[in-house]
């Protein structure tokens, strides 16, 4: 697969191995991807396919064992404020209020105080948390905590948003609401999004493009364009085109899952 060097994110020949009990384990064999600016990309695959590892490497939290990741043409050497991160667990600073958490993300920015306050206020509004500025995270529900996390990851205006199963711990109803909220915020702040999820509906509903990773070792199995119009509403999931995409992606993932199960059984780990 060739990569487009002008893309926002260019991943080429990416490889990651871990050492487990002295033995090298290949998590990612080879990934080549180019992601244009402002694209919303979902990454799906069976557990252990290296999707979170891939995201961590783009975020600069893990180092690749080989290959490279370019953002705007410059190699990733560590975490940076051009990228915002939302984790699956509620990684809020519990000793800070809602606005304190969001303000904390702006501390390293050179903006004048008044502008920072305006940004904090704007993003609290954008994620629908007006009235909860002074609440502490422990007083909030899971969905509300992830709204704070999204606001915190966007407030310093990164051009890339990395999301690692951000709604995985939420109940189905809250998750649906959060997906719509995320799309609404994203329509307004067009950043490039890499969104890792287990949920195929979620992957299609949100994205312009769904990347299916193959497992053990991880590599790109399919790269599927989601040709559904925006803005999208919740009832999109019942439309024929959506269903067709879902069927196709589910079949790919199922094939991978069966392969992994067969491998586990023959290795006596099943």
């Amino acid at each position: 697969m060739t990569t487009d060097p002008r893309a926002k994110v260019v991943i080429s020949g990416l490889r990651k191995t871990f050492e487990v009990d002295g033995a090298a384990l290949t998590a990612i064999e080879r990934i080549d991807l180019s992601i244009p600016a402002q694209q919303f990309v979902s990454i799906v695959g069976t557990s252990g396919c290296g999707k979170s590892t891939l995201l961590n490497m783009v975020g600069g939290l893990d180092r690749p064992s080989g290959g490279r990741i370019l953002i705007d043409g410059a190699p990733v050497t560590g975490p940076g404020r051009d990228r915002g991160f939302v984790f699956q667990s509620y990684t809020l600073f519990e000793w800070m209020t809602v606005s304190g958490n969001i303000r904390f993300a702006l501390e390293k920015s050179a903006l004048p105080r008044s502008e920072k306050e305006a940004l904090v206020g704007h993003f609290i509004e954008a994620v629908g948390l007006r009235g909860f500025e002074n609440a502490y995270p422990k007083q909030l529900s899971g969905g509300m905590r992830q709204r704070v996390a999204i606001a915190r990851a966007l407030v310093y205006r990164p051009s890339i948003l990395l999301m690692d199963e951000p709604f995985g711990a939420l109940d189905a109803q809250t998750r649906g609401m959060m997906q719509e909220l995320l799309l609404k915020v994203w329509e307004e702040h067009r950043v490039t999004v890499l969104f890792v999820t287990h949920d195929v509906d979620e992957a299609i509903f949100l994205a312009d493009r769904v990347i299916i990773l193959a497992s053990r070792p991880g590599r790109v199995k399919r790269d599927i364009a989601v040709d559904l119009p925006r803005p999208r509403a919740f009832d999109l999931v019942t439309e024929p085109r959506f269903m067709a995409l879902k069927r196709e992606i589910l079949a790919e993932i199922r094939e991978e899952t069966l392969k992994v199960m067969a491998a586990d059984l023959s290795a006596g780990r099943g």
Binding site: S89, E94, F132
Partner: protein, 283 residues
């Protein structure tokens, strides 16, 4: 208090009054007053049992004096001024011993919890020392620190420090790794993450460790005042042994327990005030 109306309050009271069976269900919440009453009834029952066996003359006062005799001994010590003097001396030693241990253990524990190299360097040493009997160290402490207050403080320090350090290391390790990663993505340096994220995140746990370990310092009081002490709550008990003054022994033991309880309570209250953000959400 939950601010989100969509979250049902935890442990919401059911409409019907709780039956007797409901009090002994696995993990079942019980009415507050029943919980409190249970905690009062058990000590009262033990007290009644104690009073009963002594009043009926089932044990000789040499082995177990009556509650009245123990209270009378307490009153005598209080009115003669001995009690306050002993308590002042002992509380002073405990405060200094515990503070000295804490001042060292908090930074060392935090470093051990964050830097594998420091953990690797210190953990084996501390793990060995913490199993050494403190009583056996008395001769050495006298050799090193003399027979004054300092020796008592050293014993209290040794009894507290090593466990405390390992517990603080665990408190620090137990915080969610993603908090650190979140700090990295926001552009903070390692030092800033340590001070502004790891430390506050671990602080409720560390406070709890301080509360538990001050209790241990109290339990080492008698050991600390075993040798070459003229005053102190522990000394009073050891002296009483010589004269078979069982009432003094029982009074002293109960009084130390009582002061320990007060300390614990004070720590819990202060902790609730310090870490309001960490309050469990109640319906």
């Amino acid at each position: 208090m939950s601010l989100d109306p969509s979250v049902p309050p935890q442990g919401a009271a059911e409409a019907r009054p709780p039956g007797r069976r409901d009090l002994l269900r696995l993990r079942q919440e019980i009415p507050r007053h029943v919980f409190t009453a249970a905690g009062v009834v058990v000590p009262l029952a033990l007290l009644a049992l104690w009073w009963g066996v002594t009043a009926l003359g089932l044990v000789r006062p040499l082995f177990l004096p009556s509650p009245g005799a123990v209270l009378a001994e307490g009153w005598r010590q209080a009115s003669e001024g001995i009690l306050l003097q002993d308590a002042a001396v002992s509380v002073y030693r405990i405060m200094i011993g515990w503070l000295a241990a804490t001042v060292v253990a908090v930074p060392v524990g935090i470093l051990m919890g964050n830097y594998r190299l420091i953990e690797g360097a210190l953990e084996p040493f501390i793990s060995v020392v913490r199993y050494m009997p403190i009583v056996a160290l008395i001769p050495l402490t006298i050799l090193w620190a003399g027979i004054g207050d300092m020796q008592k403080i050293v014993i209290l320090f040794l009894g507290t420090f090593f466990q405390q350090t390992l517990m603080i290391m665990d408190n620090v390790k137990n915080i969610d790794l993603s908090l650190i990663r979140a700090g990295q993505t926001l552009g903070f340096s390692d030092r800033e993450i340590l001070r502004r994220i790891i430390l506050p995140a671990a602080s409720p746990g560390i406070w709890d460790t301080l509360r538990i370990t001050v209790g241990w310092t109290w339990t080492y009081l008698v050991v600390a005042e075993l040798v070459a002490a003229n005053e102190g709550l522990g000394r009073r008990i050891m002296d009483a042994q010589r004269y078979l003054a069982t009432d003094t022994i029982v009074w002293g033991t109960l009084f130390i327990g009582f002061l320990g309880l007060v300390t614990d309570w004070a720590f819990k209250r202060a902790g609730r005030r310090l870490f309001r953000w960490n309050a469990p959400v109640r319906g």
